[in-house]
């Protein structure tokens, strides 16, 4: 809202700008923008959780998921299209990557099912990358109306610079997404290792107790065989 007040221009231009800005803000179809949502959530035992993502026509939707904690480290995964068709059905997988292309207009349903597990709660990480038909365009529409740098003579050079910065921005976003995926892998390994540590300690103790019990039982049994009630004479 500050950027509107700051602009010294004619009111008509401002209104048109605001109208376009507002309309584009509401509609993804305006510019082919990439939006990614990533979430890590807790999936209780025996439950089904579904998330819905709106997609535009002829875009691409990439979904990646990983189970990062939980006893079996697996979950059932389903993607349903806006018409209700099951596009992807996976059973008891610990991770997966899927690309839906081209997408139809509407809300895609992405479901994680933990019904097969009665006691273990799972922690699931998933990431959805949605791209419009033009591919990734960049941050232009967010900052429309900012002061343009002066230099009509250098217009061509400025365009070049702008393009490289755009490309850099997109690649950095992609790096960030890769980092997120690697982080999820590391979190999963760490949880697995901590579980292992606990298991090693527990079972070592248990094993030792069992050994001692067995030893005592053996001695007791042998002694009982030679009880005073049944004297054995040499």
């Amino acid at each position: 809202m500050a950027l509107l007040r700051r602009k010294e221009g004619s009111g008509g231009r401002l209104l048109a700008l605001a109208a376009i800005f507002g309309w584009c803000f509401g509609s993804v179809r305006c510019f082919g923008q990439s939006q990614d949502s990533e979430l890590t959530f807790l999936l209780p035992a025996g439950r089904l959780e579904c998330f819905f993502q709106t997609a535009v026509k002829n875009g691409t939707m990439e979904v990646e998921y990983q189970v990062i904690a939980g006893a079996g480290m697996d979950v059932d995964f389903t993607i349903l299209s806006p018409e209700g068709i099951r596009l992807i059905v996976e059973s008891r997988r610990s991770d997966g990557v899927h690309v839906v292309e081209p997408t139809v207009e509407g809300d895609y349903q992405i479901c994680f099912d933990n019904s097969f597990s009665r006691f273990s709660e799972k922690m699931v990480f998933f990431e959805i990358i949605i791209e419009g038909q033009g591919g990734d365009v960049g941050g232009d529409e967010e900052w429309a109306g900012l002061e343009e740098p002066d230099g009509s003579l250098l217009e061509y050079k400025l365009e070049d610079i702008r393009e490289s910065m755009d490309s850099l921005h997109r690649r950095l976003e992609r790096s960030r997404q890769m980092q997120t995926v690697l982080r999820a892998f590391e979190a999963r390994d760490r949880n697995l290792l901590e579980d292992n540590l606990w298991r090693v300690s527990f079972w070592s103790c248990a094993s030792m107790l069992v050994m001692l019990c067995v030893a005592l039982t053996q001695v007791y049994t042998v002694r009982k065989l030679f009880d005073d009630k049944r004297r054995v004479y040499t």
């Binding site: 803000f25 509609s27 993804v28 949502s37 890590t40 959530f41 941050g139 002061e147 910065m165 001695v219």
Partner: protein
């Protein structure tokens, strides 16, 4: 400038109706949904949500639901509660992490009127932004008086800084991971040695005990 107020108003209205095409999910009345964000320290997180209630008469979701609130609870990696607040049907919560690790964001509805929920379904649109995605660039441009190119460079710098922070955090986590791994290996080694020794000692004790027992019974 007189026209800027209705323009701003129009923009505000449209921004309110369409916060973003984020993910949405359905939540039951007493259900609590928890999300985990693993973030490095000194990172800002902004969460925005919008709720819609299922209306049986029109068989669709109403755009807004007055009187319906959501309770947001955020725990830090040491399970200490850093935010526990009630928000309205549309809300925005923000926090900055002071310790690196897994922060837990839990949402549950806190409806005052039970009848509202009779339909059973509440649709929640949720958008969680972390790190440099929380920066409001038009605001930064206004404050520091930057041109468009300068702002883009600023955005790139912020992105790189965030990636660097995450990498540092990754390094710290990997160190912890390595420590846990070495601790596990050590434990396995020592327990094995201890068990073998105890086994041998128990065996010797058994033999001695039975031998003395048989000698006492005059069998040997």
């Amino acid at each position: 400038m007189m026209l800027s107020t209705p323009a701003a108003g129009l923009l505000l209205i449209l921004a309110w109706i369409y916060p973003s095409h984020a993910l949405y999910f359905h939540i039951g009345e007493t259900e609590k949904k928890c999300f985990i964000e693993e973030i490095p320290d000194e990172t800002m997180v902004i969460g925005k949500y919008r709720t819609q209630l299922w209306d049986k008469q029109t068989s669709s979701f109403l755009p807004s639901t007055p009187g319906l609130g959501m309770h947001v609870e955020i725990k830090d990696p040491d399970t200490k509660i850093i935010l526990s607040r009630q928000y309205g049907s549309d809300g925005r919560f923000t926090f900055t992490s002071h310790t690196p690790g897994e922060h837990q964001i839990c949402l549950h509805s806190n409806s005052t009127k039970m009848a509202l929920f009779a339909g059973g379904k509440l649709r929640v649109h949720l958008d969680i932004q972390v790190g440099e995605h929380t920066n409001n660039y038009p605001e930064i441009a206004a404050k520091d008086k930057l041109t468009e190119l300068q702002l883009r460079v600023r955005q790139l710098l912020d992105q790189v800084e965030q990636i660097q922070k995450e990498q540092n955090y990754q390094r710290y986590r990997e160190e912890r991971f390595r420590m846990t791994s070495e601790s596990t290996n050590q434990r396995v080694l020592w327990w094995s040695i201890a068990q073998t020794l105890i086994l041998i000692v128990t065996g010797i004790w058994q033999m001695k005990h039975l031998k003395s027992f048989f000698e006492a019974k005059k069998l040997v």
